[in-house]
């Protein structure tokens, strides 16, 4: 089965929780970063968004959560819909209250606060919640965080990532956006973190948009996938389709098909740019 090469990204899943329609993002009023990006996240599924450095993956997440203003960026065209509601202009804090939570690149841990304080801030958008009981729930997924009583800045990279995900759970979100959870982690830890991501998706029914450079890992846990280049989606399909796609194997998964000489590969890449 051939994946859908068209940049519109339509015709994936039926029940969509988030759809990004043809958005354009401009920084400092001159630098065009996203040029007509479309994607959909299916309810209860994990959707992977892959791409190389500078493709605009993080910008996409910040556009969805409206965090661009702090970096002098803005969405100049297109709409973002969450649960059939236009959230293009909504403030970041209102979006968190609606159930969309971003786990930022580099984890976004408040390093000068304790683990418990970080977790309590995760529930900031839900005043009056039974926070202590919920923290115990989070510790069920991340038992090793329970023993860490010091400042979050002293946690290891893996523990910080787990804290960031645990903090997201405290907001009781319907949709979690994750920006490179594998960044700076050892292969074993990456496996553990992705295992947890899959458990959260299956056990709690949280939809996840997973932005990754580690295409191999991401496609293994995801249901659907998108590949972006230069601020546009260039390829989409189910994770299985993408994994079997020759181009994806060649560019993102490493080694695909029979070995070719260096010269062949170079010409092949030039011929097959998805643009």
């Amino acid at each position: 089965m051939k994946p859908n090469i068209a940049a519109t990204g339509n015709g994936l899943a039926t029940d969509t929780i988030l759809s990004v329609n043809n958005i354009e993002v401009v920084f400092n009023e001159v630098i065009l970063v996203l040029r007509g990006l479309n994607l959909k996240v299916a309810r209860g599924k994990i959707t992977a968004l892959l791409g190389t450095n500078g493709a605009g993956k993080s910008t996409t997440l910040k556009a969805i959560t409206n965090l661009l203003a702090t970096e002098d960026g803005e969405v100049t065209r297109g709409t973002i819909q969450y649960e059939d509601e236009d959230v293009t202009e909504i403030g970041p804090e209102a979006l968190v209250r609606k159930g969309v939570f971003l786990v930022m690149e580099g984890r976004g841990i408040l390093q000068d606060m304790t683990v418990i304080e970080n977790l309590r801030l995760g529930a900031y958008s839900r005043p009056g919640a039974d926070i202590d009981a919920e923290i115990e729930q989070v510790f069920k997924y991340f038992p090793r965080l329970k023993e860490r009583t010091g400042l979050a800045g002293y946690l290891s990279g893996g523990e910080q990532q787990m804290l960031a995900i645990g903090r997201a759970l405290m907001a009781k979100p319907n949709l979690i956006l994750m920006d490179e959870p594998s960044m700076g982690l050892s292969p074993l830890l990456v496996k553990e973190v992705f295992g947890i991501i899959r458990r959260l998706n299956k056990e709690l029914g949280i939809s996840i948009l997973l932005v990754e450079q580690n295409a191999n890992m991401a496609l293994h846990v995801a249901d659907d996938g998108y590949i972006m280049e230069n601020g546009k989606i260039v390829l989409d399909g189910t994770a299985k389709e993408l994994m079997e796609n020759e181009d994806v194997k060649e560019f993102y998964l490493g080694g695909g098909g029979e070995r070719r000489s260096f010269k062949d590969i170079k010409s092949y890449k030039r011929r097959k740019r998805w643009l």
Partner: protein, 298 residues
């Protein structure tokens, strides 16, 4: 050596220093959460004192009622200053923000001069504050004891607020990184307004206390200037540092007075000593005792 005078000055220094610490905390709170150096902190304090005094003497309100009204007024005032004057300046260069707070300080000074007059006025003796009690051979005015107790209460409340309450944690998160705070669902605008409100309220309380101890006049704004050595000593972005810095400056002032009165006979060492400390600290430890060093991101 006059030991009892020395001891008396030491206690005075401690009590005054605690008050400096409280005002320094207000200053640090604003700097830490909104990156604004508030040169009008001293005027905030004077405004609180004047408003309370006016409510007590002109409107004939009982002191506690006047006190509560003053706090409400100061909270509203802080929020208005933040939203009307400083919010439009978000993202502007730091020098513009500094010029605006200096302007605010001058504006408030003239306005208060116009409304409340230039003379010092005393609070009516509400609860026998000028009585003198003797504790362990020391003669301490009740007003001083009152200010000591209030300072400790305010510091305790600050500690509790930032450690255990939802809004306190949100304020610390905003101070650490605004984007992270936003991603957690914290409204940065609301947090900024709250920081100014709290700072204005606590400055107002300090103003009332100092007004009761001394008397109310526009020159009370000197505390706002004394706060700078305290804050620089403690570290610009450390609440604990503000308290420690305040106490050190208070004690140092009084020790300078002792040394001056006993031996040097210069006559004004009391006022200038804190600023010598300021200069020395800036030379040897520019980030202060508890301040975080700025790490430039590459």
């Amino acid at each position: 050596m006059k030991w009892d005078l020395l001891f008396q000055l030491l206690v005075n220094g401690l009590i005054v220093g605690m008050l400096y610490g409280v005002v320094a905390m207000c200053f640090v709170l604003i700097y830490k959460s909104t990156q604004v150096v508030n040169f009008a902190q001293g005027e905030f304090l004077v405004l609180g004192a004047w408003v309370c005094l006016a409510l007590v003497t002109n409107m004939q309100l009982p002191f506690f009622l006047a006190f509560i009204f003053t706090l409400v007024f100061m909270a509203a005032f802080g929020i208005i200053v933040q939203t009307v004057i400083l919010r439009p300046l978000i993202g502007e260069p730091i020098i513009s923000v500094i010029m605006v707070t200096i302007g605010l300080s001058i504006f408030m000074q003239s306005l208060m001069n116009w409304i409340f007059g230039n003379d010092a006025k005393r609070f009516p003796d509400v609860f026998g504050t000028s009585d003198i009690v003797s504790i362990g051979g020391l003669n301490v005015e009740v007003a001083y004891l009152l200010s000591l107790v209030l300072s400790i209460i305010i510091m305790g409340v600050f500690f509790w607020f930032f450690r255990f309450t939802r809004h306190g944690l949100a304020m610390r998160a905003t101070a650490f990184d605004q984007q992270i705070a936003q991603s957690l669902g914290i409204s940065v605008k609301q947090t900024f307004a709250m920081a100014w409100a709290i700072s204005a309220v606590v400055s107002g309380v300090a103003g009332i206390v100092i007004g009761i101890v001394n008397s109310v006049s526009n020159s009370l704004a000197f505390v706002g200037i004394k706060v700078f050595p305290a804050v620089i000593l403690g570290g610009l972005d450390s609440i604990v540092g503000a308290v420690v810095g305040g106490i050190i400056i208070g004690v140092l002032e009084n020790m300078a007075e002792y040394v001056d009165g006993q031996w040097l006979k210069i006559g004004n060492l009391y006022t200038i000593a804190p600023f010598y400390v300021l200069i020395i600290i800036l030379m040897i430890k520019p980030y202060g005792l508890f301040g975080t060093k700025d790490i430039e991101r590459i």
